[in-house]
């Protein structure tokens, strides 16, 4: 067993030695001690170039000219804003507050009377969350209001929702007053085009 081990050692040692002897032996520490070479000497020494000098590399870059936008459709609805007031939410929450209920009841009774109209609910947030998560929060705020209106007897088909997250603030100051104004659902009455 010992002998076999010894043989393996020898083989490994041999191969390591062989591999080693193939390499260029350069010792930076030793060079540092030597007097620095003169420019002439530098020139005489054939420079070791990791890359053979080839034709110049041509550098270009794709120019981003204007991109053609496809799929621009005509709006489906004519929008009427300012018919109903906004309702507000607490920080990081999407449950309907009691002060929003009278507004929602007004909207529901109006829609029950005006049966050809639809309503779009925009969900908005203040800027304190992150953009993507705020889109989800705005979605939940609009959805909560939609569910409330359905509970008041409206058909889900007459209620569209969209979230704008923090993308469309009404107010841009960094104050609680301002943030409260932004944490809102906004209502838009939709009339189909051609009517």
């Amino acid at each position: 067993m010992k002998k076999v081990f010894a043989v393996i050692l020898m083989l490994v040692a041999g191969s390591v030695f062989f591999g080693c002897s193939q390499r260029k032996v350069v010792q930076p520490e030793a060079q540092q001690q030597q007097p620095a070479v003169s420019p002439e000497e530098t020139k005489k020494k054939a420079p070791i170039r990791p890359e053979e000098k080839i034709a110049a590399e041509k550098i270009t870059e794709q120019q981003l000219a204007k991109v053609e936008t496809r799929d621009i459709e005509a709006p489906k609805y004519i929008e009427e804003k300012g018919v109903f007031e906004d309702i507000y939410f607490d920080f990081d929450r999407y449950d309907i507050r009691s002060d929003a209920k009278p507004v929602l009841e007004k909207i529901a009774s109006w829609l029950l009377k005006n049966t050809s109209e639809k309503i779009l609910i925009e969900g908005h947030c203040d800027e304190r969350g992150t953009n993507e998560y705020n889109l989800a929060l705005g979605d939940r705020r609009a959805k909560a209001t939609k569910d409330f209106l359905i509970a008041l007897g409206l058909s889900p088909k007459r209620i569209e929702i969209i979230s704008y997250g923090e993308e469309k603030p009404l107010c841009t100051e960094k104050t609680e007053d301002c943030w409260q104004k932004n944490r809102r659902d906004h209502f838009v009455v939709l009339r189909e085009t051609g009517k």
Binding site: V16, C20, V25, P28, I48, T60, L120, N131, Y133
Partner: protein, 427 residues
């Protein structure tokens, strides 16, 4: 076998082996010389001198190279005023050793119709050229040309590929809405893609860098759009009622992950771009948003509020093995993987501000990288050494970059642009 077992003393053999190994390892270091071991956190900065290139644009080119190398934190740039050797003089190691300089870059620029640049990198200790290369470019490509030289110098000294030609896609306000923009990684050459729409968000690169997916609201609907940068066209790939926001391309480039509230609440889906087939990954009453696919395509990091507050979770691509990985703080969002898949970077709320954090995919090793202002939407550079993010620390939101350990944070977009949502391109 018998022949080779002549030496009887095993200790002697071991001694020989040890001698050879020691000998060898000593010389291997200088043979495949790596001037800076960038994988070692303790490696010292390499003292380097970037001399001003000759020619009228020489100053500009050498400044760009200098700025590129300086930001990496791996180099100690020797001040021009301390240099003994005039840029026009022949390289002489004797002029540099007293200053402790280990590498010198010289270059010349010829300006005809195009720019032709010769750049040379010298090893001071060995008194030899390490790199000599000629580049040519039309004059308008002076920056990509300079970044290419910086990449070659970086490669010669570290053995790694530099990121100096990479781009950052981001969102910026234009008119009353927001559009998708692309710039160089150093904040220069900002270009608007000119895409119409009310609000655009979340640009996401394909792994080959030729395409961008993003989300945009047009005509009161959130759609996911594919921008092909090669043929400069844009197509809608998905839209529905509710909120639809793209997460990431899958590594194959044919599928992407996104979140949508089309079926009620925000959930995760994968869509195939070839046959438009959609696979639903999650189905719950809570919010599942911001999916990010690991570089090997096997895992998804995402945000869920099923525990009562938005937190980062990791699951397999088939939606099995769901694990929560953040437990500190009540608002952790916008996860994104490191290129090696060994870290997840995200934005977490602490106190009343959002900060950038690193965490291992198993939830260990939580590290905070920022402290000033609100910091959001972190994204790794293709080599994993740097992070782009948005911050409002100086007033209006802009794009910042930093090293992945939080050092050297700096704003790269001008004050005139309100910018957010950066995504670093592949190399």
């Amino acid at each position: 076998m018998k022949k080779k077992s002549k030496i009887q003393n095993p200790n002697f053999k071991i001694l020989i082996l040890l001698l050879f190994t020691f000998h060898c390892s000593l010389f291997t270091v200088s043979e495949a010389k790596v001037y800076i071991d960038i994988s070692s956190p303790a490696s010292k900065q390499l003292p380097i001198a970037i001399q001003e290139f000759s020619g009228t644009t020489g100053k500009e080119i050498s400044e760009i190279i200098r700025n590129d190398l300086e930001f990496t934190g791996l180099f100690f740039l020797i001040d021009r005023s301390a240099q003994l050797e005039n840029p026009s003089q022949t390289f002489n190691p004797r002029n540099w050793t007293p200053l402790g300089v280990e590498a010198v870059v010289k270059g010349s620029v010829e300006e005809g119709k195009d720019l032709t640049v010769v750049a040379i990198l010298y090893d001071v200790l060995e008194g030899r050229e390490l790199l000599r290369k000629e580049y040519s470019a039309e004059k308008e490509f002076i920056r990509p040309l300079s970044h290419s030289i910086a990449n070659d110098i970086y490669k010669a000294l570290t053995g790694e590929t530099g990121i100096f030609r990479s781009k950052i896609a981001f969102v910026a306000e234009e008119g009353n809405g927001k559009g998708i923009f692309i710039m160089d990684w150093d904040g220069k050459k900002i270009k608007r893609t000119g895409l119409k729409g009310n609000v655009a968000i979340s640009p996401r690169w394909s792994r080959d860098g030729t395409k961008l997916l993003f989300s945009a609201e047009r005509n009161r609907q959130w759609g996911i759009y594919l921008l092909n940068l090669t043929i400069r066209t844009e197509n809608k790939v998905f839209s529905s009622k509710g909120t639809n926001v793209v997460g990431d391309f899958l590594p194959d480039g044919n599928n992407f992950i996104f979140y949508s509230s089309k079926d009620g609440n925000p959930d995760l889906y994968i869509m195939n771009l070839k046959d438009n087939e959609i696979t639903r990954l999650t189905s719950s009453y809570s919010n599942e948003v911001s999916p990010s696919v690991s570089p090997d395509g096997r895992y998804i990091a995402f945000v869920s509020d099923k525990g009562g507050s938005p937190q980062i979770y990791v699951m397999r691509i088939d939606s099995s093995d769901v694990r929560r990985i953040t437990f500190e703080g009540s608002y952790n969002t916008s996860p994104s993987w490191s290129p090696k898949g060994d870290r997840i970077i995200f934005s977490g709320r602490r106190g009343m501000t959002n900060q950038i954090f690193l965490v291992n995919p198993d939830g260990t090793g939580l590290t905070q990288l920022t402290t000033q202002g609100n910091n959001e939407d972190p994204s790794f550079s293709p080599d994993g050494r740097y992070v782009a993010f948005s911050s409002d620390r100086d007033g209006l939101k802009g794009i910042y970059i930093m090293r992945a350990n939080g050092e050297s944070q700096k704003r790269i977009t001008p004050d005139s642009i309100i910018a957010s949502g950066p995504r670093w391109s592949p190399n």
